[in-house]
């Protein structure tokens, strides 16, 4: 019995030496220690031996069983270790190949810039208004204090649908539509498309503007400067200098053109700013009393300011685009860069 056990143990060890796969080890384990295994069978024979030998043999058999189980474990560990090493050694990827990207798209740069602008003004408590793109002459001009046959109409190359209907040349008509419906205080911005019959490197017949209007009891020109300064600082950086200079818009008085320090040359002068160091960025002013009268407000009680800025202009400065027409060609090589 003892010899038989030791012989089986030696046989098992021998077989384990030859095992190179986990599967083989499992087979060896089954052959010797499984339910029908050789050692298991032998152990079952313990009942047949004498009473006094039984504990000794039982003890020995158990030792051998435990010992074999350990050897099997070791052998498995050796095989696994070898496999791990082999895996690390022999399997390697070209990690320089591009990853498997799920294609994602991009928003149009005008949308991106417009959202950024909107975000700043929302943060300042402005709400968003909208108006029609095909507009009545009344809202686009007359209510904005630009009567028919007024030379100020020369500032707008207008597309007409009929004598009374046109493509809005600016987003300013939204001012009138909002004031007609609402009483002060008002604090809105109106982003949208505008149209002028003009086409070259710096003009497209369609473009985008953001109009702003703030009307209330004690709104001053100083407040206009304050709001626009905050805007420019948030959009282009705290250090950007700006200046306000007199201009003319029939619907504001006083009117101001706002220049900011050239973002390209930081004021030193370059081609983009025609060597002036300044870039025109906004038109603005205090709402003209005539406009208040037209919408039925009392100009003696109410003051306000309005401003408008070109989104393409901001986007061109932000991304270094020098031909405005690129926005509307929608070439993927362009759109893919935003």
């Amino acid at each position: 019995m003892k010899e038989e056990l030791e012989r089986l143990f030696a046989e098992a060890l021998e077989k384990l030496k030859g095992a190179v796969e986990e599967r083989q080890v499992a087979e060896i384990k089954a052959e010797f220690l499984g339910k029908k295994g050789k050692i298991t069978a032998l152990l079952r024979g313990l009942v047949n031996i004498s009473q006094e030998q039984r504990p000794v043999m039982g003890c020995l058999a158990n030792e051998i069983k435990i010992s074999l189980e350990e050897k099997i474990k070791e052998s498995l560990e050796v095989i696994r270790e070898r496999k791990r090493k082999e895996y690390l050694l022999h399997e390697s990827l070209d990690i320089t190949l591009p990853g498997r990207r799920v294609p994602i798209g991009r928003k149009h740069p005008i949308t991106e810039v417009c959202n950024e602008i909107i975000g700043i003004f929302l943060g300042l408590g402005f709400q968003i208004s909208e108006g029609p793109e095909v507009e009545l002459d009344y809202y686009n001009f007359e209510a904005l204090n630009i009567p028919k046959d007024h030379p100020a109409r020369d500032m707008h190359d207008t597309f007409y649908i009929s004598d009374e209907v046109l493509l809005r040349t600016h987003t300013s008509p939204v001012q009138i539509r909002v004031m007609e419906k609402q009483s002060p205080p008002i604090q809105i911005i109106a982003p949208g498309k505008a149209f002028r019959c003009d086409s070259d490197v710096s003009h497209t017949p369609m473009f985008h503007q953001v109009e702003g209007l703030m009307v209330g009891d004690n709104i001053t020109f100083g407040d206009l400067k304050g709001i626009l300064t905050i805007f420019v600082h948030q959009m282009f950086g705290d250090k950007t200098r700006l200046r306000f200079r007199p201009s003319f818009f029939p619907f504001t008085e006083p009117s101001a053109e706002v220049d900011m320090q050239c973002v390209i040359c930081r004021g030193k002068g370059c081609r983009v700013c025609s060597f002036s160091g300044w870039l025109e960025i906004l038109g603005s002013g205090m709402v003209d009393p005539e406009v208040f009268k037209i919408v039925g407000y009392n100009p003696n009680e109410i003051t306000g300011f309005a401003f408008g800025l070109g989104i393409e202009r901001v986007a061109m400065l932000k991304y270094g685009i020098n031909d405005i027409r690129m926005f509307f060609e929608n070439d993927m090589r362009f759109l893919g860069q935003f």
Partner: protein
């Protein structure tokens, strides 16, 4: 408006550099768009004086001059004939390189030494005269002095953007006045005086105004026996600096005064005026008149004409006529200085398609108080440079004179609007600086008398702007207003727009922005019948181009054209979308109906060119999947795709209308090849178009989550063989109908045709999820339910179970 630095300096002392002046003007509201330096580039050309002159011994047409430059005497052979001994000339010496490329060397001409050349204007490139040498006016010229500095040839031309409210600055003196107010210097208006003749003008001519509304003022002077010729060099040079071509001395004088004072003038050949008189009256509709430029003009009943005793001789305030033009034979001239109704000038100028320096100023409003001064100035200059003598007095028809307006200005209100704390003293000083007459009214208010050249100032707020402008916008304190707390910045539709763009970009679509106007042809290519809403477009009366002449009713043409641009640039795998406005004409409405559409296009490879993804082309289910992603992301719940063969530009078997809550909100499908051919495209292209406004109304905002079951689900599959004509949805609906409440989800996981499935049939495999929210289900229980479902299904649909 072009303004010469040198010319400006005649009216106001400027002791700083041109670029500083430019900066100051810009900050005062006169935006200087550019300053260009006029360089003479005339080295070694100096002032010389002809000391003696004799014929060349060997050539008839040449003469031999001794020219002094103060220190030296030079021998110069000259071919011109217009000089005499004692004339001052521009002498180019050895080493000079003239603008026309000629290099001056000492040389012998027909045996005589020539040590330089006396130059013509044309040779110096400072004028057009090439026949004669330039004779300089002897007003203290220094011999030997560099010609460029002697003649003030170096100059700076300011291109200034004059806003429509400031016609007074469409003149050199107007701008000089602003400079004077900036610098605090005195404005020097030229002295105007001349000797009048003896014969009273009333005896020689008359002016009648038949339409004082269109012509409130008309004045004229008469100068006899003028000699038509070239105007002086300096005058021609100034006109050219202002962009005006010199013509002849009389015409140049009128243009010079136009630029100097901003008052347009016109000179008539007096002898060509029938009955030697002027009548100002309207034309008749359909009259034809030939203007100075030789063009036939068709007139209207509101065209104001300057006529003589029998016929029109000028279009009032716009352009003179060929029939009364001053020519080289003219000896008597009548000079007109008038004020015309700005609105009517503008209307007429637009109707005739004729804009001139005169009409540009009249339509903005000239200085009605400066009419006579300009007339006198022109008369003076004609006498100076064209000779002749005037009649005694002038004609001035001014039926209803305009008197200066007075406006009161409150300093408190000024400060209230500007956010400043200006003192009354300072306000007064600013206003006086631009020649306004200011008087105190009370502690707060002043009364301001407005001069006739500032017709733009007619309300208190206009004066407030002047105060702000003169004090400097940048001196106004920057403040922040008290802001109300607003509830919502964006309305739900605006939020949905943002969301839709986020979703589509996250699944691979690029946003495009196309023009709102499209080509009528691009709509025609969609094969729509006349009743189709996309045909209800509105047209632009004055489009830039035919292919931008109608307002879009659909975004699809724009997307197809974008595809075309990209295909041309070899960008072949495209997923594009646009969210934009479309326009439909509405009967009896002035404005079209505008609404937002959301449309997309997909073509090419599903994943683009890739080493690791299969090179599969995009198909219908890709774009449909995009829509499902979109609806889910926007919380559009009850959407449904209905097959339709009726969309004329989409493949009848691969298109669908999209329903939400039983409302049609859009279409999706494969674009028909004949439509693509029209756009010069090929390939397979899928598009969808959604009525975004309508869709937003069906977004479900009150979303509540379903509780999660604590018990494991059990899945059972079922594969059915059905006819090709049977659709996924038919079986799906049938399963749904037959399902008991434990059926939690039904999913299709395979569509199969081919081996083991007969021709004309297909196999649809569904996976059914059984789930209880109360207990653990047993296999046995689920098997029972599932078997019953299968047998019912077979019975109801006639499908066969695929084993």
């Amino acid at each position: 408006m072009k303004a010469s630095f040198n010319w400006l300096r005649e009216y106001v002392d400027i002791d700083f550099a041109p670029d500083e002046l430019g900066e100051d003007l810009t900050m005062a509201g006169f935006e200087v768009e550019s300053i260009s330096k006029v360089d003479a580039n005339l080295n070694n050309v100096v002032v010389g004086k002809i000391m003696s002159l004799k014929p060349h011994p060997n050539a008839d047409k040449l003469s031999l001059c001794q020219v002094s430059t103060g220190g030296h005497l030079y021998s110069v052979v000259c071919g011109a004939a217009n000089m005499i001994s004692g004339d001052y000339v521009a002498l180019a010496l050895e080493g000079a390189l003239l603008p026309n490329g000629v290099k001056i060397k000492n040389t012998r001409i027909r045996g005589e030494l020539s040590q330089g050349m006396m130059c013509s204007e044309e040779e110096l490139k400072i004028g057009r005269d090439s026949q004669r040498i330039l004779i300089l006016q002897d007003d203290g010229l220094e011999l030997g002095k560099d010609i460029a500095s002697a003649l003030n040839l170096e100059d700076y031309i300011f291109e200034i953007n004059i806003t429509p409210n400031r016609p007074d600055c469409l003149s050199i003196i107007g701008i000089a006045r602003e400079i004077a107010s900036i610098t605090g210097k005195i404005l020097k208006i030229p002295k105007i005086e001349y000797r009048e003749g003896n014969e009273k003008i009333d005896k020689l001519t008359s002016v009648e105004i038949h339409d004082p509304e269109l012509c409130p003022r008309y004045s004229a002077s008469l100068i006899n026996d003028v000699t038509i010729g070239l105007s002086p060099f300096w005058m021609r040079r100034r006109l050219e600096s202002a962009g005006i071509r010199p013509i002849s001395n009389v015409v140049d004088v009128t243009n010079y005064v136009l630029m100097e004072f901003g008052q347009p003038l016109h000179a008539f050949d007096f002898d060509l005026l029938s009955e030697r008189r002027i009548v100002v009256q309207r034309a008749d509709d359909g009259d034809i008149f030939t203007s100075l430029d030789g063009m036939e003009r068709h007139l209207f009943s509101d065209t104001l004409m300057i006529c003589d005793g029998e016929k029109p001789v000028a279009i009032g305030g716009i352009m003179g006529g060929l029939n009364s033009e001053v020519s080289e034979n003219t000896s008597n001239v009548l000079i007109e200085s008038a004020y015309f109704n700005p609105t009517n000038i503008r209307k007429t100028s637009k109707k005739l398609g004729l804009q001139t320096e005169a009409s540009y100023r009249f339509e903005r409003g000239v200085d009605y108080g400066g009419v006579i001064r300009a007339l006198n100035r022109a008369t003076q200059l004609v006498l100076d440079f064209c000779g002749g003598k005037t009649a005694k007095g002038i004609v001035d028809q001014y039926p209803s004179p305009v008197f200066p307006k007075e406006i009161s200005l409150s300093v408190n209100k000024t400060n209230k609007i500007l956010g400043t704390s200006l003192k009354k003293m300072k306000v007064k000083r600013h206003l006086k600086g631009i020649e306004l007459d200011v008087k105190d009214l009370d502690r707060d208010k002043v009364i301001v008398k407005i001069p006739s050249f500032r017709m733009d100032l007619h309300r208190e707020v206009d004066l407030i702007e002047e105060v702000a402008r003169l004090d400097g916008y940048n001196n106004i304190p920057t403040t922040t207003p008290v802001v109300r707390v607003n509830t919502a910045g964006k309305n739900p539709a605006q939020v949905s727009q943002d969301r839709a763009k986020d979703i589509l970009t996250s699944i691979g679509y690029y946003e495009v922005v196309n023009y709102s106007f499209i080509s009528p042809l691009s709509v025609a290519l969609l094969n729509l019948d006349d009743e189709h809403p996309y045909k209800r477009f509105i047209s632009i009366k004055n489009p830039l181009r035919e292919d931008q002449s109608i307002m879009r009713t659909t975004l699809i043409p724009g997307l197809l054209n974008t595809m075309k641009t990209n295909v041309y640039n070899k960008n072949l795998n495209l997923k594009l979308f646009e969210l934009g406005t479309v326009f439909y004409s509405v009967e009896h409405e002035k404005l079209p109906k505008e609404k937002k559409m959301l449309s997309a296009l997909a073509t090419g490879l599903k994943y683009g060119e890739s080493w690791s993804f299969p090179g599969e082309g995009i198909d219908f289910y890709d774009i449909k999947g995009s829509l499902e992603n979109l609806f889910e992301g926007l919380n559009v719940m009850n959407f449904n795709f209905l097959p339709t063969p009726d969309i004329p530009y989409l493949h009848p078997g691969k298109s669908s209308i999209i329903m939400v809550d039983n409302t049609e909100i859009g279409t999706v499908g494969e674009v028909r090849s004949e439509v693509l051919e029209g756009y010069e495209l090929s390939d397979t292209v899928y598009v969808f178009e959604l009525d975004f406004d309508l869709m937003v109304k069906h977004t479900f905002s009150d979303k509540k989550i379903k509780p999660l079951s604590k018990y494991p689900p059990i899945y059972r599959d079922i594969a059915l063989i059905v006819d090709e004509s049977v659709q996924f949805k038919d079986i799906y609906n049938a399963i749904n109908k037959l399902s008991n409440k434990l059926v939690d989800n039904i999913q299709v996981f395979d569509v199969y045709r081919g081996r083991s499935v007969a021709n004309g049939k297909k196999s649809l495999a569904y996976r059914i999820k059984y789930q209880s929210y109360e207990r653990t289900l047993t296999d046995k229980e689920v098997n029972n339910i599932h078997e019953k479902l299968v047998s019912n299904l077979v019975e109801k649909t006639g499908a066969r179970i695929r084993e």
